[in-house]
Amino acid sequence: MSTLFVLNRSWHDSVWLFEQLAFARPGDSIVLIEDAVLALQSPINLGSFSAKCASMKISVYALQDDCQLRGINNQYRSISMIDYLSYVNLVVQHDKQVAW
């Protein structure tokens, strides 16, 4: 039973983002959409977040359109930029979604 975690809110201090690691299980995925992509611009380095996700076999994605719209550049190789079609595919591939 895999879960797709969809984050759409900006977390100034990224605490909420890091907390997803406690909620997610191996095989789950995390997608950053809307204001959640602002985390990629966070002064807190997401390197440790990305490394932990990789070791837990949790994939992390960010919606490209939402990044472009906000002028956000993705500096993390382990966070994949996706388009809407890939986003829909992720929704289909997972058993359920938690969007918060």
Binding site: T3, V15, W16, E19, A22, K96, V98, A99
Partner: protein, 120 residues
């Protein structure tokens, strides 16, 4: 009771939009269909259970009071994320009803067990 496990997640505070009232309506509908319903208050959603909510506007209904009565509707599994209450300067004694605290890992387990999760 059906085997279909459904979790309602309340992650936003109550009154700035309709999502709080909609969550409560959805929970009551789920319970009326005899589903295996759980409710989780997390993040700013924990403020919905805070004591002392008052309205000076007669048209504004304090719907959050209904959470105290959810057990009467067959919803007995009500959880709250312990870190979310602690990080907002609240304790269990600030809440209008007794709910089961869960740490972050237990929240993950709860989500993993569900067939469907609805977030509000």
């Amino acid at each position: 009771m059906s085997d279909e496990k459904i979790l309602y997640v309340i992650s936003r505070a109550a009154y700035s939009n309709a999502s709080g009232q909609e969550a409560l309506d959805a929970i009551l509908i789920g319970a009326s269909f005899d589903l295996d319903v759980s409710v989780l208050f997390i993040h700013d959603g924990v403020f919905q259970l805070k004591q002392g909510q008052q309205s000076s506007d007669k048209g504004l209904k304090l719907f959050t009071k209904t959470y105290k009565a959810l057990a009467d509707f067959g919803v007995e599994k009500i959880y709250i994320h312990d870190l979310s209450i602690a990080s907002r300067g609240l304790t269990q004694s600030d809440l209008i009803c007794t709910v089961t605290p869960l740490d972050s890992l237990a929240v993950g387990e709860l989500i993993a067990q569900q067939a469907k999760v609805f977030t509000f």
